[in-house]
Symmetry: C3
């Protein structure tokens, strides 16, 4: 390796010597500076990699690819809502074949990415007699395909709940095409199936992709019932061990979070119940925050906007902030204020 | 169709038989499993499509394409701010021709997408003697092009308002290049023109595209006056029937929303006034929520951060939350808390 | 130019005459309308450009490109975390060469974009004897490459702080691959170096790109210490002159902002201290707002969720909103409410 490096350095030297003429209007990078400094900077980065363990997974291991994960989600979305494709050549007669070929391709890509994620965290030094990671990935990919009809049933009900819950919705198609909750909830329902099967990395890559697209951050570990609707959604956070019943509706900026933990508690509680239970038919308005693993919002209750809750609420109860005293005073005219 | 399916199944059978050798290290999908299960899963999905009406628009109908809608918005953005193109070959001499060719291409694509959206919701069974959808789409595309100079005037004033309203803004160019409000407000002003002409689906597809890019969710139905500035913007929600005057400035996390409605009220109020009126020269600070179709914020008033308002405020009034009693207590040292 | 236009108009006339046959089912744009109206609309847009100064930078000047800025950030990200590439062909042996070639390409692109940004704002009428803008761009690009090992040290510590601070994090790799704070903080640390060297436009283009991807809006001017963690992050705003110490953790929806300013104050305070100081070991929970250039949050203090602060807090103090009086009342059954 040392020899290789020397050779490359020599090459760089040669190829950059021509550039050492006066620099005005040259479009070429500064060869002299490169020659003197690049190897040193690379060496310092290498040292940093070693001390932070960045290289331990490098040797011959692939990571799941963000781009392919996003492609997988888009394929699942069109399997669930084929009219989303907006493809005039797709008809009632050939959609069955479209499904077959898309699921075939989906399977292949799912299996590949899951295999990568399993091998990536695998600590076995020796080669296995059978490729256990790939075998397990195939089982999981099969099970995800088996889940698709049930996921279809669930997300169609979610879309219907959105249409019925939002007076601004003009049609079910509008909800499918242009509501962020469609993408966020489809992603959640798929990522949750992978999470439940202990697939590493991919469920969170999926949920973060949806978060980036929609502003809605649903941890794949959460449990969410039927007919779930999130309106607008920017800033919504649903923590890993949240448990949400049927017919629940929430608005932008709602947090279902964990309470504060000391460092000791954090390592103890990794994977334990830390987030609230929301029972059936609850509505939570914008900006409300509900915290804690033993907080239960009872059936049919309504949590008002901006409410901050850290203990349980009985069923059929409406909780609102006691109207905060507003201080209203006449402004001096012509004095416009700004901040940043 | 049944015969076709049998044939395909036979093909699949044939092509997958080779793969039934022991699976170790194979990169091919599991043929046996496919053969046994894929047709069954596809059948279940078909049944779900039928019961949810997913196939009713499939037959020979295109949907507007998200990708083309985003391309249309980007073209409009460069027509409005040609320096955004950052193209050295564009000069004062040839920008006129650039405009002509871009508007020509814009027209074609607008007309196509609008035609699709009109045909998509069209319930006519028989073919029309004249293609009414396309004729209407052409009229609308023409009118949008006619609007461009006025939209240019409005968004240039919005950009100027941003520069004047934000002490962190270094130049008008910086606002055009890197403020999310530029993209969000240009999109709103275009989507609003389409919404006003009863174009289905596309206005909300546009506003949701901008929402995804910026975190700012402005319904295309809202009415917004001149010199409008949204700073930062993440989490802003402006509802369908909001009515905003001139010289209004709002900050991140502000909601102009509707009050709670019963299911009966929802179907009654679809399309009716449900969101507040914000008069001229109002400033609304971050996190404030203003709800209701009969709530009016009077001229020149200032709504403080986190304020929650469900009734009207007179003009020239500053409303702030009465400083909430803060409970401050000395922490035990070395006890760092975390939550999620 | 006038002659050219006439010629083009003639061409358009000719090429569109064929389209003036009856319009049914034609897929071609409406030639007659074009001929009559497009030149007029283009003229009106040209007039608007002139009155808004849009053309003043057009003549032979490039703007930094959003796409290239995003490419530069992605390259830096993989230099900092090479395992993110997920490329099985990258090994401990060849990663050094990968670094060399990536930094070489990074340098070239950085230098080009910085040169553009400097020339764009340059008001010199005459050509310089030496290309000062490019020389300065080369110096800055060199300095950014020199910074990379230190940035690597900082962001690896930030990632470690995220892993230790979030009980939902399964591994450091999960944080690197799927936590929005990774992208937001890497972008901030790079953009801050460019901002500190007075590079125009690019730092804010970078920070807005990260804002668009993550919902986290960190102004490149802010100063942020070591081991910084933002959880979830949607809606976080950190203003230009904020000053954040070491081991600080903040949650979604937190604003570090400026107080209201009159227009006179705005022009006076551009670039002055307007945002708070957050000392070491502070935690700020979701939705809290801290405003003002003379507001100091003392060492080790904890700011509770939704707290609104405009004056200093001593060290080791926990500030929470005095539990707001919640008004809880039994709901009428069967009355489900919705809003939008």
């Amino acid at each position: 390796m040392k020899d290789d490096r020397k050779k490359e350095k020599a090459n760089v030297e040669q190829s950059t010597k021509r550039e050492l003429s006066p620099r005005k209007n040259t479009k070429k990078p500064n060869g002299h500076w490169f020659q003197q400094n690049l190897p040193r900077i690379a060496d310092r980065l290498m040292t940093a990699y070693v001390s932070h363990g960045d290289l331990q997974h490098l040797e011959g291991k692939d990571l799941p690819s963000k781009q392919r994960i996003s492609g997988i989600l888009n394929d699942i979305l069109t399997i669930l809502f084929p009219n989303l494709l907006g493809d005039a050549s797709l008809t009632e007669t050939n959609v069955w074949y479209y499904l077959g070929s898309t699921m075939h391709s989906l399977y292949t890509r799912l299996e590949e990415e899951i295999t990568k994620s399993l091998k990536y965290i695998c600590t076995k030094e020796q080669e296995c007699p059978v490729d256990i990671c790939q075998e397990r990935a195939q089982r999981v990919a099969e099970e995800i395909l088996e889940c698709l009809p049930e996921i279809k049933r669930l997300v169609s009900a979610d879309v219907q709940a959105a249409y019925e819950g939002d007076p601004a919705a003009k049609s079910v198609d509008e909800v499918i095409l242009s509501y962020p909750c469609t993408y966020a909830i489809v992603t959640y329902r798929v990522a949750h199936e992978l999470y439940s099967r202990q697939v590493p990395l991919i469920p969170r890559m999926m949920s973060e992709h949806a978060h980036s697209q929609t502003g809605i951050d649903i941890h794949p570990g959460a449990r969410i019932g039927e007919n779930f609707f999130i309106d607008h959604g920017t800033g919504v956070v649903i923590g890993e061990t949240s448990d949400i019943g049927n017919n629940v509706r929430i608005y932008q900026g709602v947090t279902l979070g964990g309470k504060s933990l000391s460092p000791e508690e954090i390592s103890r509680l990794r994977g334990r119940k830390r987030h609230p239970i929301i029972q059936d038919n609850v509505i939570i308005y914008s900006g409300a925050t509900i915290l804690g693993g033993d907080t239960i919002i009872g059936k049919g209750s309504v949590i008002g906007g901006n409410v901050w809750i850290t203990s349980s609420i009985p069923s059929n109860t409406t909780v609102t902030i006691a109207t905060p005293k507003l201080s209203a005073q006449k402004s001096t005219k012509n004095k416009k204020e700004r901040h940043d």
